[in-house]
């Protein structure tokens, strides 16, 4: 096996990782702030793909449609938080699971009603490829890496350089003191949930041009997002980024060296982390 093959596989692994990262970033961010484990995150991802699809049909402009799609999903997310999820803060975890799982079923069926049950595709974007290490690297892999890194930088900037980010961090670390200092938890929880939904919608819209939109498409990715989130540490954004990279890369190298067990690798990694460090790589006890 020559080194070029391994290096090339590494690049592809990083690209795959970026989709896991984008979806888990919103999931872990929402959990970090609101302590709600949002099963509906996958449904928001699906909605992001469908709204992007529809806006693209109207505007024929992919980037604009992507942004508009994510904004609509953010608004839907905010509506869900205010109308439903905010009512179960503080209740035992099973309430969250039942409610957010109910949203999954609701949105899946709404998608079926409005867009039909047959999966839909938009015209492929980012067509073409470049030569790297004597192999064909599709442009869309580069696009995934670019999008993933851009989202990481935006998140970093928002959380460390803006007032909103500082307040979000404050209420995450110590809700009581934050409230005593005059922060409005309802506003912060709602905007955090909205932003998490925005990231989910963005993930679906980013994924659309390299695949398709289908009812229930969030079901598979959400499992991966949970694995990534748990490995990285629930609520840790840095952890999600690192653990998405780990999963993407071991899957990619696994395909090259041990194709028959590729499917098991993320679960092996998950078990290993849970055994050695149950709170996750960057998690707090």
């Amino acid at each position: 096996m020559d080194l070029n093959a391994i290096a090339f596989q590494l690049i592809l692994g990083i690209a795959s990782a970026m989709l896991y990262w984008i979806v888990s970033s919103g999931l872990t961010f929402t959990f970090g702030v609101t302590r709600v484990l949002n099963f509906a995150h996958g449904a928001f991802y699906m909605l992001g793909a469908y709204f992007t699809l529809s806006f693209f049909a109207l505007t024929q402009n992919y980037l604009l449609s992507l942004f508009l799609g994510a904004v609509i999903v953010a608004l839907i997310g905010a509506g869900c938080e205010r109308g439903l999820i905010s009512r179960i803060y503080g209740l035992p975890i099973p309430f969250q699971l039942i409610l957010t799982f109910g949203l999954v079923l609701l949105f899946d069926d709404l998608v079926r009603i409005f867009w039909g049950s047959v999966p839909k595709m938009m015209p492929a974007q980012f067509i073409g490829s470049i030569n790297v290490f004597g192999r064909i690297l599709p442009v869309f892999s580069l696009y995934l890496i670019f999008a993933g890194v851009a989202i990481a930088l935006v998140l970093y900037f928002l959380l460390s350089k803006t007032d909103w980010g500082v307040e979000i961090r404050a209420i995450t670390v110590d809700p009581e003191t934050a409230m005593c200092s005059g922060l409005n938890p309802a506003f912060l929880y709602a905007t955090a949930f909205m932003f998490g939904s925005f990231l989910a919608g963005l993930g679906g819209g980013l994924y659309l041009p390299i695949s398709s939109a289908s009812p229930g498409m969030g079901e598979h990715i959400i499992i991966y997002a949970f694995i990534v989130t748990v490995i990285g540490g629930l609520g840790s954004i840095k952890g999600a980024f690192v653990s998405a990279l780990i999963i993407g890369i071991i899957e990619s190298l696994g395909a090259l060296f041990v194709p028959w067990m590729t499917i098991a690798l993320p679960y092996i990694a998950l078990s290993a982390v849970l055994l050695v460090r149950p709170e996750g790589i960057f998690g707090e006890e």
Binding site: M1, A5, F8, Q9, L12, G13, A15, S16, L19, L105, D108, R112, S117, V118, P119, K120, M121, A124, I127, G128, S129, R135, I136, P138, V139, F140, S141, L144, Y207, I210, S211, S212, S214, P215, G216, M217, E219, H220, I221, I223, Y224, E251, S252, A255, L256, P259, W260, T262, I263
Partner: protein, 448 residues
């Protein structure tokens, strides 16, 4: 297309009458079925067997593969509407109750019990996935109803559960993985490719198909090698690492049984990563995708699926060229605005088979039905189906063809159709070896 079939329809409908013809296999090449004689349990004239004949239809109606439930429903609902419009079954109305298997064995088993015990269903049809069907088959003797499988393809169902274990309540209407593995290898044997690799979904269906493909092809073409494999989890979002790991092995032929949404992702990404180019030959692509000709795939991918790839289904609407098939395609398009999917045809046939079964036996007795079905020949849109006694597998052939983008049709069509009689590529009891290769090789080569 619509105009064309409408004319055909009028022409043929008069000659043909309505419904499927079931009977002794006169002129049917496979084997002479025994003559069916029905003696007992015949109700008096004018007496209904049951007010409403209830059929439980279990398929995937939720999640990423929910299209497959929808495609099946189009077929069975169409059959039900046609039958009820024409007076039902011996005067009884037909009612179909749809239930979601959620692609989970335990859930499907629960639905079977509920359909039989609470809803009073007389038959169960459907079941999409190989993993699910093995669980469901086991409970059929216990609930004492017949199951007509319309999609799930693992050969273990008919070979092991029906033939070896003796679960007689299970029948399969759809062609099993013989289509995906063995028939695929027949096509592969005619292509110049000598280094085959696979990209398969990582579960029962993928393994069964690849195993049969390799076994068959290595006998038909001793010069081929199997150079690489990639196993994709269901719901793979990025196939590129899998594709590149296979391309490292420099294959010149690809066998893939990806289906549903995963197939869309795979084809789109394979195009950008040069996998199609790697398997190109003079005359097409050495790319064999047994379930590629599914209506959902053709509608979603449309012209993005490269022309001249080799694909098939468990039925393709343009084959066979019979009045019955044309009538079905026309009725399906009129009712739903879509071409019939393969599982639509199998579901449609399952409902008509139940109709003919009751008309023939005039009873709802399960044992009588089993006896009547064994060795029966059914004329269906997909052609004559012979229900083999030993394993309860309906035998009929489905061709492979090369994709062509024809502006006259709303979805790509298949050209250069290649079919082999079912008898020659289905495995035979006691299922210890592959079909008889010697003659076969000659036949396949003579054709090529």
């Amino acid at each position: 297309m619509a105009e064309m079939t409408r004319r055909d329809f009028i022409k043929y409908a008069a000659a043909l009458g309505i419904g499927l013809a079931v009977g002794g296999g006169i002129g049917y090449s496979l084997r002479k079925p025994e003559v069916q004689v029905v003696k007992e349990g015949v109700p008096a004239v004018g007496e209904k067997i049951k007010e409403t004949i209830k059929i439980g239809h279990i398929a995937i109606f939720s999640g990423p593969f929910s299209t497959y439930g929808e495609l099946q429903k189009r077929g069975s609902l169409l059959a039900m509407e046609e039958i009820n419009k024409a007076g039902g079954i011996l005067g009884s109305k037909v009612e179909i109750i749809y239930r979601d298997s959620a692609a989970k064995p335990a859930e499907a088993v629960k639905q079977v019990r509920s359909l039989v015990e609470s809803e009073g269903c007389d038959f169960i049809i459907g079941i999409d996935s190989s993993g699910v069907v093995l669980g469901v088959a086991e409970v059929m003797p216990e609930v004492n109803k017949l199951l007509f499988v319309t999609h799930a393809a693992t050969h273990k169902l008919t070979e092991e559960l029906v033939y070896k274990k003796g679960i007689k309540e299970v029948f399969r209407i759809a062609v099993p993985v013989y289509q995906d593995g063995i028939m695929a290898a027949f096509i592969a044997s005619q292509l110049p490719a000598t280094k085959w690799a696979c990209v398969h979904p990582d579960y029962e269906y993928g393994y069964a198909s690849w195993e049969l493909f390799q076994k068959t092809l290595s006998k038909l073409r001793p010069d081929v090698e199997f150079v690489g494999e990639a196993w994709a989890k269901i719901g793979t979002t990025d196939f590129t690492p899998l594709i590149s790991s296979v391309m490292e092995k420099k294959p010149d032929g690809i066998h893939t049984v990806e289906w549903g949404v995963d197939l869309f992702t795979f084809v789109r990404q394979a195009k950008q990563t040069g996998l199609f180019d790697a398997v190109k030959y003079d005359g097409g692509y050495a790319w064999i995708n047994p379930m590629g000709y599914s209506v959902d795939a053709m509608e979603a991918l449309a012209t993005e699926y490269p022309e001249n790839c080799w694909i098939s289904g468990r039925y393709v609407w343009m084959y066979p060229d019979t009045p019955l098939n044309k009538k079905f395609v026309k009725a399906h398009i009129d009712r739903w605005g879509h071409f019939p999917a393969y599982s639509g045809e199998t579901s449609y046939t399952a409902v008509y088979l139940i109709k003919k079964l009751i008309e023939l036996t005039k009873t709802l007795d399960v044992d009588t039905h089993i006896k009547a079905l064994e060795d029966m020949v059914v004329f269906s849109p997909a052609g004559a189906r012979y229900i083999r006694k030993e394993d309860h597998q309906a035998m009929y052939e489905v061709p492979y063809g090369q994709i062509k983008h024809d502006p006259n049709y709303s979805i790509p069509v298949l050209t250069n159709l290649q079919a082999v009689p079912a008898e020659e590529y289905y495995r035979h009891p006691p299922f210890e070896d592959m079909p008889p290769y010697k003659d076969l090789y000659k036949k396949v080569m003579a054709k090529a």
